[in-house]
């Protein structure tokens, strides 16, 4: 049997990117500002992580204007949804494995 660690996707196995996918999964689109506030990140840090996710094909970034104000919306792709599901499943497997092998470990 393959160890769950082997199935982890380095792009997603990170709090911020996992957070972006988790939030985007729940909405049709999500604004850059909402992500920045919820994830408590600077614009630069969030932009970097969004670019990584976009390059991996896990999100789409729509840049536009609302009136004169620029507005950036993020949408999760089907590949992004799949990556999120896989990551969550692997995390649960890892936790279950640790719980089974070391039942006295406190989380």
């Amino acid at each position: 049997m393959t160890h769950p660690v082997n199935g982890l996707d380095e792009v997603v196995h990170q709090r911020v990117r996992l957070g972006v996918l988790a939030i985007a999964q729940e909405a049709k689109t999500v604004d850059f500002g909402f992500l920045q506030t919820t994830l408590e990140l600077t614009a630069g840090n969030l932009s970097h992580n969004l670019n990584v996710l976009e390059d991996a094909g896990l999100i789409r970034i729509h840049k536009g204007y609302e009136g004169k104000r620029p507005r950036t919306r993020i949408q999760i792709t089907p590949a992004g949804k799949q990556a999120l599901r896989t990551e969550i499943a692997h995390l649960k497997q890892l936790i279950a494995r640790v719980d089974t092998q070391h039942p006295d470990v406190q989380h």
């Binding site: 957070g19 939030i23 604004d31 850059f32 909402f34 840090n45």
Partner: protein
């Protein structure tokens, strides 16, 4: 506090999973506007007596039936065109208003909500009400004296069922168990008041002022929805 430091790569699986679940909850909570549909639908239900139960009877009658004890004719609003028009128009306006409000609030908060499933719930509700009015109309033409009137009471309950179905869809979309339980309680109350016969035995109002008694049942359900709206509004307001 915003950070420019890259997220820790040493987060444990437990921490990562907890973070993902926390963000999911935050995203869901940000899209909830439960108080608004409950308020609008409560008003629609409470307003029905004003339009449908005041003034002269508004149709929905079967043919005259001659029996040994006299001439018999049964009328029920639930089989009338007026009943169909009131509920389909008011529920359509309600769904347009609710969907518009959800889209507006979502835009203001920066998280775009999915509203497609509400349209399916709305169409399902209209079909349900239309089928119910048609079935009652057919039944009225074949009704015999002494026959159970349960079908008519069920038909009067149909708009509430359509509203309940819409609220269940909303609870599913928002992953909002409290709304699902509230909807269940509301349907139980509506079923008790509109389908069950025991309230009419408890209240002599049903014999002396039947229209007032019927109005009080819809007003009670409407008020229950509006109280729920106030409760959810307070809960959503106190959310961090």
């Amino acid at each position: 506090m915003p950070t420019d430091i890259p997220a820790s790569e040493s987060d444990s699986p437990q921490q990562l999973l907890a973070a993902a679940q926390g963000y999911t909850r935050q995203a869901r909570a940000a899209q909830r506007q439960t108080w608004f549909p409950l308020l609008v639908l409560g008003l629609v239900v409470a307003a029905w007596p004003l339009f449908g139960l005041s003034g002269p009877p508004r149709g929905g009658c079967g043919p005259l039936v001659h029996t040994s004890s006299g001439v018999f004719r049964y009328c029920t609003l639930a089989g009338s065109g007026f009943f169909f028009r009131y509920w389909t128009i008011s529920l359509s306006l309600a769904y347009v208003l609710i969907t518009g409000y959800y889209l507006w609030r979502a835009r203001a908060r920066g998280i775009g909500t999915r509203v497609g499933r509400y349209a399916w719930a709305w169409m399902g509700g209209l079909v349900l009400i239309g089928a119910s009015v048609w079935a009652v109309d057919q039944h009225l033409n074949n009704l015999t004296p002494g026959e159970s009137l349960l079908a008519f009471r069920l038909a009067a309950f149909t708009p509430l069922l359509a509203i309940g179905a819409g609220l269940f869809v909303l609870a599913g979309v928002e992953r909002h168990p409290a709304l699902a339980w509230f909807t269940l309680a509301c349907l139980a109350l509506a079923g008790l008041l509109l389908v069950s016969t025991w309230p009419s035995y408890l209240l002599s109002l049903s014999d002396s002022r039947p229209q007032l008694f019927a109005a009080s049942r819809y007003l009670t359900v409407g008020l229950f929805l509006m109280l729920g709206s106030a409760g959810f509004a307070l809960t959503e307001r106190s959310r961090p």
